[in-house]
Every structure is written in structure tokens, then in C-alpha cells.
Amino acid sequence: MPRLSVWFIRASLVYLAVGFTFGALMLANKGLAFNLHLDHLLPVHMEFLLVGWMMQLALGVAYWILPRYVKGLPRGNETMAWLSLIFLNTGILMMTMNTVFNVTWFMLIGRVFEAVSALTFLLVAWRRVRPSS
């Protein structure tokens, strides 16, 4: 497994742990109603599990497992793939900041970072989606 995939997948596991923790707190709170503010975690819970865990895991596994290039760099432009990881996690953290500080700009910028991350990854991996040689 390439080092970048290790980073993608370990980051996704961290988001899974935190996302599950927030989800467990909210579910327990639904049962016992011990904190009125816990429901505010819902957007972060969803962001961490859908983007932080599932999307990030998919990118990490795709970078590792898609057919490699025969000529040149086997997995494409590595710098761009690292940028994709950085953009994605910046985006997720900006989305989280929006929940904490309630500033709409954070959400907008966060979504732009996430979209740019996906686009960057797409440019790296697009031509690797082909029949195995």
C-alpha cells in the first residue's frame, strides 16, 4: 500500500472513530435527554462519516488499487494526489468550523476545498480506470 493511501485510510479511520462517537452521544441523548445542545453535532457527524470516512477511504483505496501506468509514474502525479488529501481534509475542517462558529463562509469555502480535492484526484486517477494490461 503506498504511503499516500496509508494517510488517506488512517485519516478516514480517525473520522470514523470521531463520527461514531458523536453519533453514539446523540443517540444516547435521544434516549435520556441529558444535554440539549448535543443535536448540534448532527452536521459534523454526517460530514465526518460521509466525507471524512467513506469518501476518504474510497480515494485512499482507489489510489492504491487502480491499475498502474506502464510508463512514467506508476500511480500518476503524486504531488497532485497529496494535494487532494490536503484539500479534502481542509474542506472537512472548514465545514466543522462552520458548525462551531456558525459562519456561512466556512461552509462555502469548505465545500469548494472538497470539490477541488475531488477534481484533483480525478485528474490523477482518470486514466488509471482502464482494462488491466
Partner: protein
Amino acid sequence: MPLLTRWFIRTSFVYLGIALAVGILLAGQSLWSSLLPVAILFPGYIHLLTVGWLTLLIFGVAYWMFPKYSLAHPHGSDVLIWAAYILLNLGLVMRIVGEPLDNLRRDAFWGWLLVFSALLQWLGGIAFIINLWKRVKTK
């Protein structure tokens, strides 16, 4: 394909089937909302898909495909991974049953059922993460 992967994947398909059936109930709620308050099934529907279907499927495939932990224990700790499977499923089923009932008749029993459901699912997720973490490596 290892035995536990087959359990994870087949169970995930069962949850997918149940989720799709609940989805039909939710889609037609205007037809039978006077008989059944089906809208209370929505959180369960989402978690049947995201935890029951997607997460269990991912866990099953990751357990099978990720780099081996060691020659002696290629999949890591069998105890942790079986614990993850049992705790996640037990917790999820408790949620699917308990959450609508807690909505219908709020009492301490259903409230505590949700607390235990949350705890079991959390423990199951953490057990899986601890086991998989060691297998996410360059060689």
C-alpha cells in the same frame, strides 16, 4: 474469502433488503400515515443504509483485502473482529427496534435501550478500527 468477510457481506445485504423495504413504506407514507406513523422510521432507514449496508460491507471487504498483519495472524485479532461484528449488529438492531418505539411511547426502558445501542455500536466501531489500524501500512 474468509468466513468473517462472508458474514459481514451477507449481513450487509440483509440490511440493504430491509432498508429498501422501509424505503417503500416511507415513500408511500401519505397513503397509510393514518394507520402507521411511518415517518418515525426515517432515522432507522438512514442507519440501515449507512451502518448496516455500507459500513458492514466496507468492514467485510477491508478485513479480506487489506495488507496482512503477520504471517501467523494475517487478519489481526480474531477476537476484536468478531467482537466488532457482534457488537455492531446487536447495537444496530436495538436501534432499529428501539428508536421508533421510544418515539411512540417515551419511557425509561426504551430510552436506556437507545443508550445501550449507542454504546454497543460505538464499541463495535472502535474494535474494528483498532484491528484495522495495524493493517494500514506500506508493506
